[in-house]
Symmetry: C2
Subunit: 220 residues, 2 copies
C-alpha cells in the first residue's frame, strides 16, 4: 500500500442516492459543455451516458419522429421486447417491466434458432429477428450487438414481410455496424438508433429502461 | 424508403468470420494510430475495443505485473469468477468457461444479499463481495458496474480480512468510480483495471473472455 498517496475523494452517499447524484453530474457537465437536450429525449440520452460514461451519445443518438412517445405507448400497451443478446435481456429492469404489461425475451440460447442459423449459414441473431416477426402483439426490438440482426430486419421491411412496431438499434463494432444502422434509419420503422460504431447491450438495455422509468415516473 | 440514398457498403462475410474481420480492422486502425500494444496485453486490450468500439481503452487499461499470465493461470486452476451484475455474467462465454474448470456466479439476485444490504444501508454489490470472500478456492472478481463493490474489496484488503486472487475492476460511471479504481490499484491485488470513468459489464465480460480465449488458443 502507498499510504501517502493522495486519492480522489469518496462521496459518501446512500445507495439509493447514487443514481440521482450521477444524473446530477451528467446534467452539470452537459451544461458546462453548452449542451441543451431535447426535453423529450433527455432521459434517454442521459441514461446512455450514464451506462457508458461516454458523452458521444449526445451527438450520435438518433430518434425518429416522436420516438420516445411511441416507445412509451408501446410498452404501456404490453409490447414484447426482443433482444439480440442475453446481456441486454439481463440489463432490462425486470421490476419496471413487470409493472407495465410488457415482457422481454431473447432467442439467442434457443437451440432451434442455433440449428436453423447453422443450416442456413446466417447468424443466430438474424434468425432471432425472424422469430420475433412471428410474435403476436406489438414487438419492440432491442438490438445492442448484432448488425446482422438489423440487416435481417431491414430485408424484412424492404420486402414488405414485416415492419416491427419499434426498433432500438445500437449494435457496437466494426463490421457492417454503420451500414446496418444507416439502412434501418432509411425505413419507416420508428426507431432510436446510435449512429456510428458505438452502442452495446448495456446501451440497448439503458434505452429500454429510460422508457420504462418514464412510465413509472408518470405514475408517481 | 429513400431509394437513391448512398449507403456504406455491406461486407458479405460468413458469421464465423465476423469476429476475425473485426479484429483485423482494429489491428489496422491501431497501426494507423501508431499504437503498438504490449504483446501479452494485446488480446485483452483489443477485446475491450471490440466490445465498445472505443479506442480509449488503449490509453486507460492498467495491468498489474504479469496480470494476464496470472489471470490465465487462475482460470486454468478452476477459479470462481464473481461478477457484480447479471449482465456481466451473461456476457461471459459459458462454453469457454466450461472447457476450463472455472465457473462464474453473481449474487445480485440473491434475496439474502438484498436483505442484508437493505439492513446495513449499503449496496447489494458491496455485500456480494463479502460473500465472494467466503468462497473456497481461488476467486477472480469481475466488477463492471459498482464502485461500491471495489470500495468494499478495498476495505477488506486494507483491514487484512481478504485479498482476492484477481480483480477485474472496470465499473463505469460518475460517482466514486475514479476514486475506487485508484484505491484498488494501490493495493497488492493482481488486477486489470480501466482508469477513469469508462468500463461496464460488457467490458468486464470482454476481459474475462479475452483470458478464456487465450487458454483455448493455447490448446489448439
Amino acid at each position: 500500500m502507498m499510504a501517502d498517496r493522495v486519492f480522489t475523494e469518496i462521496e459518501y452517499i446512500r445507495p439509493m442516492e447514487i443514481e440521482a447524484r450521477s444524473m446530477e453530474i451528467i446534467r452539470q457537465e452537459l451544461s458546462e459543455r453548452g449542451v441543451t437536450l431535447d426535453p423529450v429525449q433527455a432521459a434517454t440520452v442521459m441514461r446512455c451516458i450514464h451506462s457508458s460514461a461516454d458523452f458521444d451519445y449526445v451527438r450520435t443518438l438518433r430518434f425518429s419522429e416522436n420516438a420516445v412517445e411511441r416507445g412509451i405507448a408501446l410498452l404501456k400497451a404490453g409490447a414484447t421486447i426482443v433482444t439480440d443478446t442475453n446481456m441486454a435481456l439481463a440489463g432490462i429492469n425486470k421490476r419496471a417491466l413487470d409493472r407495465c404489461k410488457a415482457r422481454a425475451i431473447c432467442y439467442m440460447a434457443d437451440p432451434r434458432i442455433a440449428a436453423e442459423a447453422k443450416k442456413r449459414g446466417v447468424t443466430r441473431a438474424a434468425v432471432s429477428m425472424e422469430a420475433a416477426s412471428r410474435l403476436p402483439g406489438p414487438v419492440m426490438l432491442a438490438i445492442g450487438n448484432a448488425p446482422t440482426a438489423l440487416l435481417s430486419v431491414y430485408e424484412m421491411i424492404k420486402s414488405g414481410r414485416w415492419i416491427p412496431d419499434f426498433l432500438i438499434g445500437v449494435p457496437v463494432g466494426f463490421v457492417n455496424v454503420v451500414a446496418s444502422k444507416e439502412r434501418i434509419m432509411s425505413t419507416l420503422v420508428p426507431y432510436i438508433v446510435n449512429a456510428g460504431r458505438k452502442g452495446g447491450s448495456n446501451v440497448a438495455a439503458a434505452i429500454v429502461n429510460s422508457l420504462l422509468y418514464q412510465i413509472e415516473e408518470s405514475r408517481l
